[in-house]
């Protein structure tokens, strides 16, 4: 079992987001909002292009937590969606997630997550609590 210590930096992981993934996530999650699939619609409501579901970005950050501790160990998880992940047609967008252990106590570890896209922080205050 992995040992966690406060202050420990966790290795970054890169996830690829593209239009195909947005369609797959829309189907899996039931969120068929056209801003995540239809470029014309997205632009008509003032967005620069199709944007990823915030919850897809969070799901990928959740996968990062699962890789650290196992899905069954995640007991709290929260994030703010501070910047949209813009996904142009036929483009792979890289989401880089990294983490830092901020506290270990009472059989749990707090992990602060950083999620970056094109050098822009897309999740704010992203943190998970895992059961050790």
């Amino acid at each position: 079992m992995t040992k966690f210590e406060a202050g420990q930096e966790l290795a970054p992981k890169t996830f690829t987001i593209n239009r195909k993934l947005l369609i797959a996530y829309a189907s899996a999650s039931g969120d068929q909002n056209p801003i995540h699939q239809d470029e014309t619609f997205a632009k008509s409501v003032g967005l620069p292009d199709v944007i990823a579901h915030g919850m897809l970005t969070m799901a990928l950050a959740g996968k990062y937590l699962s890789d650290i501790a196992g899905s069954q160990s995640v007991i709290e998880f929260s994030a703010k969606f501070i910047k949209p992940v813009v996904v142009p047609a036929e483009t792979d967008v890289s989401l880089i997630v990294s983490g830092k252990v901020t506290e270990v106590s009472n059989g749990t570890a707090k992990i602060e997550l950083l999620a970056m896209c094109n050098d822009i922080k897309v999740l704010g205050m992203a943190k998970g609590l895992i059961k050790l």
Binding site: H53, V74, S78, G124
Partner: protein
Amino acid sequence: MLNPDLVGRTFTSADSVTVTKEAIQKFAEVIGENNIEVAPPTFAISITLEQSQALLQDSGLDWTRVVHGDQRFELKRPIVAGDVFHCSSTIESARNVAGNEIVSVRSDLNSGSELVVSTWSTLVVRA
């Protein structure tokens, strides 16, 4: 604008939702998760979102103008295939900031009397 009378009210789904292995697998596949013994940490949103959507649409808000502001999950235990949930959602607050409606919705997934997952969503309805 959201009817202020709805704030604080809890809406419980009439129908239960049964979590299938297929639903977990479909969600897991998108994020590259191979372990489907338990659902991924954010899987609950695929159940609670529909409820929040219905709630807001019934309240007269335009879902296509909704942007997700933030999200929180508390998991008492992981969701597994075979779980049967009733979802209850409460509009905890609604306020208007610079013409944008900011609505906070809490949704609980209950299996019988057992609270399994709580989710909190802040939704911003853009002016």
